[in-house]
Symmetry: C2
């Protein structure tokens, strides 16, 4: 158990089968609703359902992915909660990846002006990143998370056993956010990721054991809790977590939903490293070390529309009078906001990313 602000997190194998014991006392016998990603293995769903027996007012499969995070879908889930007359004392569980957590978390944030929420992330991305820190949201008119709320989960339970059901590509996508964190907090994570990633993926793909993942996932979660705990409402320090996301989001937009988020972030990180070096903020030796770390990742291997990616890059809120707004690195472990990155440099990085995809 990682017991710190803004919320406690359990990390380990086989946790979902002990779900009821792990919950905070106040959530052990109140009425519950469970929303799960429709693709989560039945075995996990029935494990969770079994531990909530006798108080499960509602269980529903929902679609995953950014495309399902709509205002209408949130309204549908809220109507179901209201139809069951769930009270303010109820608890809402999300079982699945990041997009399911965003959508279900938003519903929990606004139902009765906020009810208890517990995330049960089943993807690596969800465990190390999306479920941590209380951001929830849905999309509107193609704008990602333009509507949402800050609503801290009462608890997150990251069961490493769930990682066994992921594809190799999903694992690498999750590792994209892990490596991002290693660049932000190298003192805590560098030694855990440097030269280790391929072996970790191979282990889980061959003998289905996630045991070796425990220290990496736990350290990554601790690092994120540290950052979000100091800036729950995203007013400052939390911006560092956007490292690699500016170009990453643009590539996702250009790939029309086919590029896994974490792999897009990896391409974005490469761009950030080059931009930081070019501006003289990052030593050549550090650039090399960091690029070596990223070399383990598979190529995205999708078609990306250059115009769509470019449009996303140039949208209003990233533009300033002096250039584009980017989180860069003033040395490893020292993310810093720059709002004067020349447009031309960024377009060159986009083209490099497209050539590598």
């Amino acid at each position: 158990l990682i017991d710190r602000k803004p919320h406690p997190v359990w990390v380990g194998e086989g946790l979902l089968s002990r779900l009821d014991e792990l919950l905070p006392p106040g959530l052990r016998d109140v009425p519950a609703a469970l929303f799960h990603d429709a693709r989560v293995p039945n075995e996990l769903i029935s494990t969770v359902g079994g531990r909530l027996k006798g108080r499960l007012a509602l269980r529903l499969a929902i679609d995953a992915g950014e495309g399902a995070k709509t205002w209408q879908e949130a309204g549908r889930l809220l109507e179901l909660l209201a139809a069951e007359r769930l009270s303010r004392e109820a608890v809402v569980f999300s079982l699945g990846g990041g997009s399911v957590g965003d959508l279900v978390g938003f519903c929990a944030a606004v139902y009765h002006r906020g009810v208890a929420l517990v995330h049960l992330p089943t993807t690596l991305l969800g465990q190390v990143d999306a479920s941590i820190g209380g951001k929830t949201g849905v999309n509107l008119l193609g704008a990602k998370n333009v509507v949402g709320a800050f609503h801290q989960p009462r608890m997150v339970i990251a069961d490493l056993s769930a990682l066994r059901s992921l594809s190799e590509r999903d694992l690498w996508s999750g590792l994209g956010e892990v490596v991002k964190m290693a660049l932000i907090r190298p003192e805590r994570l560098w030694s855990r990721v440097s030269g280790q990633l391929s072996a970790l993926v191979a282990a889980i793909m061959s003998d289905s054991s996630a045991r070796g993942w425990q220290p990496l996932v736990a350290d990554c979660i601790e690092a994120k809790l540290e950052i979000v705990g100091s800036d729950e409402r995203d007013a400052g320090a939390r911006a560092a977590l956007n490292l690699g996301h500016t170009l990453g989001h643009a590539l996702e937009a250009g790939a029309g939903g086919l590029l896994p988020h974490g792999l897009a972030v990896v391409s974005g990180l490469r761009a950030v490293l080059h931009l930081s070096a070019r501006r003289g903020w990052l030593e050549p030796s550090d650039l090399t070390r960091a690029l070596d770390l990223l070399a383990a990742f598979p190529a995205p291997n999708v078609v990306i529309d250059r115009e769509a990616a470019l449009a996303a890059l140039l949208q209003d809120k990233k533009r300033t009078a002096r250039g584009l707004r980017f989180v860069l690195l003033r040395g490893l472990g020292r993310p810093e906001l720059a709002d004067d990155v020349p447009m031309e440099w960024v377009v060159q990085e986009l083209d490099r990313a497209l050539a590598e995809s």
Copy 2:
């Protein structure tokens, strides 16, 4: 200016024509959106529009009333904000009564996970009650405010001049919440309401002056700020504000939207007084004094469906194992939650209210 937690409130005549000077410095030149009740006089709308000139990205008339507070309507307003690409730094204004403030406040609470909100209440009910304290919400499946958020406005500007456009019935409705507050905080408000109400209404109806209302409205707002400031998330003390609302909501449900909220509350307050006296919590002399205060109010004068009202009264969340949950008075100024009020007593009070309506 009443400058206290959880938010500052301006009260006075002609304030809207000085809107820009009254705003907190951070909100004086950021982009703005204005949503106003479609029934607000054009004069007020253009006054406000004029003070926001040059930065008004969006101005929209919306329908008032509980029926317009829907999830779909909130989605429509949010899409308009997103289409204008309003940033996190923008400010949203609501101009109108309580229902407009609830809906617009909810949109401000979730747009970009919360943007600045300023209420410009134009009804008495909005000025003394609905705009104060940060509750926002929309209705779902007929359940009032079952979805919403706590989102404190950055400022409330209660322009007494707006009261001149109200009907006599609207004024009495607002006074219903004022009298409720007088029963909760008699030391502050009793002398301001006892024997004064008819004269205040007559003054504004005859010579269109709202000057005499200043002390009453200001004291009522201060009393509400005191209570909500001690309990922003509605965990305890704030429950006292529901005085008269249990039966009041039931009557509103039975009247199908034709009974003004404050007049329903007045009927609810009569019931609370009788129930409190019957249980021995309220002295007969205090019962008489309080009923005298309520005698000034006009009869609701609408048809109320007994079955619908009864159904609303008996819904789950008001029921306990020992009876019904009500805020009663253990003496004037001492609201207290009772959860064992006999069903039979309550039905008798409902019938009394129906006979008087």
